[in-house]
């Protein structure tokens, strides 16, 4: 059996595009403390990338001086991620989460679709002009193939 990991991190960073990769890499290193399949790892990276990109593009409308906060909690094999911005907020969360809905004509409206496909649960809390919190939860399946040899 994989060892049980309980851990917690918090990363705060400027709302710059370059920091989306930073957030992904940090979370990847964080969850890699668990036995994890490459496909779970990839899915978590995508979900983080979507939520952080949204905070930067939508929440902060690409203003680079704002702060995005990402919290990661590992409890056994459950990963809980929170991505928080103090940006413009979402007036209608249900509508925002509809597939292909986007307020930006250059974008696809696939962000929440990916988060929902790749994580077990996606919760959104938001208040107009106060900001948005996205809570992503995923059960991480142990990497049975690698465990067999280790």
């Amino acid at each position: 059996m994989g060892k049980i990991v309980n851990n917690k991190i918090k990363l705060e960073f400027l709302s710059k595009g370059e920091n989306v990769a930073l957030a992904r890499i940090t979370i990847a290193a964080f969850v890699s403390q668990l036995e994890i399949t490459l496909s779970d790892l990839e899915e978590i990276k995508v979900a983080v990338s979507e939520a952080v990109s949204n905070a930067i593009i939508h929440g902060y409308q690409n203003k680079p001086e704002e702060i995005v906060t990402m919290t990661g909690i590992l409890k056994g094999n459950t990963l809980i991620l929170e991505i928080v911005d103090q940006g413009i907020g979402i007036p209608d969360i249900q509508k925002a989460m509809e597939p292909a809905y986007s307020t930006d004509p250059e974008r696809t409206g696939l962000g929440f679709v990916f988060m929902q496909s790749f994580m077990n649960e996606v919760k959104v809390e938001s208040q107009v002009n106060c900001g948005t919190k996205v809570i992503l939860t995923k059960q991480i399946n142990p990497d049975l193939k690698n465990m067999a040899v280790s």
Binding site: S49, T108, V113
Partner: protein
Amino acid sequence: MSLILNSKKNTLIIRVRGDFDLVSVHEFREKIDQSLEETMSQNLLLDLSEITFIDSSGIGVILGRYRKVKANHGQMVICGTQPAIEKIFKVSGIISLMPICSTEKEAWKLLEQNTFKGA
């Protein structure tokens, strides 16, 4: 992300390396649109075998280029998607819009077949 662009037989070939996310969207859009015009290529062959990451920002510009190519009666083919990113192509629906194959060779075969059919 870095891009290598080539054109051959009415087709712009794009080889993408590295992370294909928010940061790369702008450069990708500009360079491809400019090259499509300059080379007057009708088709797009997008080789993703060297990408290390892609999310909906990447998918977004790919879809944008697809629409452009279609409007110009061209074809678009993607090759080199790795297992780790295949789910993204499935969930995004790209898979039902354009052919996705393993190698550039297969992609060429498809482009040539379809051009022939279309002619």
